[in-house]
């Protein structure tokens, strides 16, 4: 057992932290949330230059052969600056799927340009009625002469507004709730019949509602096995949840540290408010939650690469629950301890709060992950 970062990992952490400090402090996000795209292609290219988009992919794919832990370390630092570039949708979700299940041709056409920072990707899976159930899929892909025809709608597609290529989950057989019969397709975002509606989120980031109105794709756009798309999708969404914990860790730590500083600086009743025992105890409880979040986040990141789905699910669900419950405690009391100023848009603390609330609702909420945990086979044993 060893929880120390390797030398390379420490270097990554330091360089991302420096990037956030110099190139992408919270003020940059503040400006970008007013813009249409919400993030900047030239900054994406810069992140590619640093190698951060490539880190976790195998060397033969143009990556550095790193692990999910490397991704988590990067995301944690990006979270501290609320960096809005589409790291989770592009690198973790869609890029992860292509890397793991793509043909060599698909890797070259869709993954390579993304790794080089010349394009970005998105994963279109959620539907209006699906909530967190990945098997609830109404979008259909029907066989056509040259390939497939897609019909349906996807909602809250993170980075869907800007992505060059989308991975779309669609039904190639079976009924709405069937586990088998879902397939994944790589679709160009400018394909005829595809229309996107930009949606600005509470957190100032962007997603899209996407309609597929008879979109034709060639046979070589199928990603992985026909009808067997659910397991890869679950795998990707689990990694999304682990990534949310990692990015969320950055935001939680930032909120916590800023709160402690505020307790020292802000004076009322002629003393720093941090001298009130009620607030000292609150800060102590927050600290405990920050540490629990960090612990489960690390465990989830380590197990995200585990081939055993049971272990992966158990740890990632535990981490997501901790983010949604323990992290919520931190974000809620950070606002409370800032007092009135926390409710102003000018104060950064509220921006972190909003981003975290969005992460709470992505890739399964607390109820979803508790349900999933107790439905794991190993839960019926003595201890998990």
């Amino acid at each position: 057992m060893n929880f120390d970062l390797s030398e390379e990992q420490q270097m990554i952490v330091d360089s991302v932290a420096k990037f956030v400090e110099n190139d992408s402090p919270v003020e940059r996000f503040r400006e970008l949330r007013q813009s249409e795209q919400g993030w900047e292609p030239q900054m994406w290219a810069k992140m590619a230059e640093y190698g951060w988009l490539a880190v976790a992919y195998p060397e033969e794919q143009g990556g550095f052969g790193g692990s999910f832990v490397d991704l988590a370390l990067i995301l944690e630092q990006l979270g501290r600056g609320l960096v809005p570039e589409p790291y989770i949708p592009s690198v973790v979700l869609a890029g992860g799927l292509i890397s793991k299940f793509g043909s060599s041709e698909q890797l070259e056409r869709y993954l390579t340009p993304m790794i080089e920072g010349r394009s970005s990707l998105a994963l279109a899976y959620a539907e209006k009625q699906s909530r967190y159930n990945l098997n609830d899929c109404l979008t259909r892909a029907d066989k056509s002469t040259g390939g497939w025809t897609l019909k349906g709608q996807k909602v809250w597609v993170l980075n869907g507004h800007a992505a060059d290529h989308l991975i779309v989950a669609a039904r190639t057989s079976g009924e709405q709730f069937d586990s088998s019969g879902i397939s994944l397709f790589i679709v160009d975002s400018d394909a005829p019949g595809l229309s996107r509606i930009l949606v600005k989120g509470m957190d100032g980031q962007r997603s899209a509602l996407i309609n597929f109105d008879g979109v034709e794709v060639d046979a070589d756009r199928l990603l992985g096995e026909e009808n067997e798309g659910l397991a890869p999708l679950e795998w990707a969404i689990d990694r999304g949840a682990a990534a949310a914990c990692a990015e969320g860790q950055g935001e939680i730590s930032e909120m916590f540290e800023r709160t402690v500083q505020y307790l020292k600086d802000r004076r009322q009743f002629k003393v720093p408010i941090g001298s009130f025992q009620a607030l000292q105890h609150r800060a102590a409880e927050m600290f405990a939650e920050v540490e629990l979040c960090k612990s489960t986040m690390i465990l989830a990141a380590i197990q995200a690469d585990n081939e055993d789905a049971g272990t992966r699910k158990a740890e990632i669900s535990s981490a997501k629950l901790q983010l949604n419950d323990g992290g919520w405690f931190v974000q809620k009391y950070a606002l409370q301890l800032f007092g009135g100023i926390a409710i102003t848009d000018e104060e950064d603390i509220g921006l972190f709060f909003k981003r975290l609330r969005v992460l709470n609702g992505l890739f399964g909420d607390a109820d979803y992950h508790v349900d999933r945990f107790q439905s794991l086979e190993r839960f019926n044993g003595e201890s998990i």
């Binding site: 009625q129 009322q268 848009d345 609330r357």
Partner: protein, 395 residues
């Protein structure tokens, strides 16, 4: 001890319900049914309709234009307004400075101010907090120096809710620096629109609307006749007013409205072949909060009833503020959870992505993080409870 409603009260409820239903203007009603956000103009339109009916100020005595209702009637009226999702009237005139003037104002002040508060012709805001005087309100620094028949005001208030719409502001200001900080404070009424030297700078809240402002005073003249109560004795009145404010902020009626909204959202959110409202685990979460809200509602009634027979809402109102706001926030959190991915949206999200009844939830959820902060933060309420009610010793 008796909690049942008399036949008269049951008839009264019916009368109120039917009247609200017929009196709500169509656009307001449509918004009410969709849980949408009301514009200031719509709130004032509803205020004026209630005024014409004689129901704008349920808590005021009859001789100054109140309807002369007892506690039960006021309770029923509050419930019915929440049930209909009718706009909540601005509290600063009707719920705060009005009752204060009724209790402490002189006859001229009553004649000058009360009718226009009641009719909604004049809108009010509250100038208590300053950048360095929040929880420690008594350390406030807005200076009021005597000059002839006037006071000259210099300094700054902040977080002034509704200042951007208001005609008048009631301010706590410093008229003396002698003695304890509490001793040199006076309560003044200032004409916000027609006084030179007052500037209102609205700023955005995390809800995305410009709900509050900084209010600056630079040699602003306020006639001495606009002082309520004796000079340097504003603190007692300020505290009495906070008692009123805290029972209002408890938000029992408002949280009932949110519960209803949460159920509507859950019932319209598909899960598998049914809806979220069929999900036992989620129903249990709603039920727990609904039951807890009933406890707060009953405590509210008991405290109001005690105030009715001559006892002002005292430190007990701190309990309502504490427990009420925590249930209230928990219900807004539940509404967000009910929305699933839709909770990511914002009020400017296109309707295809976010149905109208869910459009304002995230904004208000964010704004309502404030209800445990304003009106005396919940930490301050705990200090009041432990010191004033429980008599626990100081460190």
């Amino acid at each position: 001890m008796d909690m049942s409603f008399t036949p008269e009260q049951i008839a009264f409820r019916k009368e109120v319900r039917e009247w609200i239903d017929s009196a709500l203007p169509p656009e307001i009603k449509r918004k009410a049914e969709n849980g949408a956000n009301f514009e200031h103009d719509e709130v004032m339109e509803w205020h004026k309709i209630l005024y014409r009916k004689g129901w704008a100020a349920p808590g005021w005595p009859e001789e100054v234009g109140g309807p002369g209702w007892d506690v039960a009637q006021r309770f029923i009226f509050g419930e019915e307004c929440a049930r209909a999702n009718a706009p909540t009237l601005s509290p600063f005139g009707l719920g705060m400075v009005g009752p204060l003037i009724i209790e402490y104002g002189n006859d001229e002040q009553k004649k000058r101010f009360l009718p226009k508060i009641l009719s909604g012709e004049e809108v009010w805001c509250q100038g208590y907090s300053e950048p360095n005087a929040g929880s420690d309100l008594a350390s406030l620094q807005l200076r009021a120096d005597k000059d002839g028949d006037d006071y000259i005001l210099n300094g700054q208030k902040t977080w002034t809710t509704h200042a951007q719409y208001a005609d008048w502001i009631f301010v706590l200001c410093r008229t003396s620096s002698e003695g304890k900080p509490q001793q040199g404070i006076s309560f003044l009424l200032a004409d916000l629109k027609n006084t030179e030297g007052i500037e209102v700078k609205p700023f955005l809240t995390t809800g995305g609307t410009d709900a509050f402002s900084e209010t600056w005073f630079e040699d602003a003249r306020v006639p001495q006749e606009n002082r309520v109560g004796p000079e340097n004795e504003g603190w007692t009145m300020a505290k009495a007013l906070l008692g009123h404010e805290r029972t209002l902020i408890g938000g029992v009626a408002e949280s009932g409205r949110w519960l209803a909204a949460t159920k509507r959202i859950a019932a319209s959110t598909p899960v598998g072949v049914g809806t979220l409202m069929d999900d036992v685990a989620f129903r249990r979460r709603i039920a727990r909060l609904e039951m807890r809200r009933r406890a707060v509602g009953m405590a509210n009634l008991r405290i109001l009833a005690a105030a009715q027979v001559g006892r002002a809402p005292g430190p007990e109102s701190s309990i309502l503020k504490l427990a009420g706001t925590e249930v209230y926030q928990a219900i807004t959190e539940l509404a967000m959870d009910a929305m699933g991915h839709n909770a990511m949206g914002w009020f400017d999200s296109p309707l295809e992505a976010l149905p109208e009844p869910q459009q304002w939830i995230a904004s208000q959820f964010n704004y309502l993080r404030a209800c445990t902060i304003y009106g005396g933060s919940n930490e301050i309420q705990k200090n009041i409870i432990s010191k004033v009610i429980l008599g626990l010793p100081n460190a």
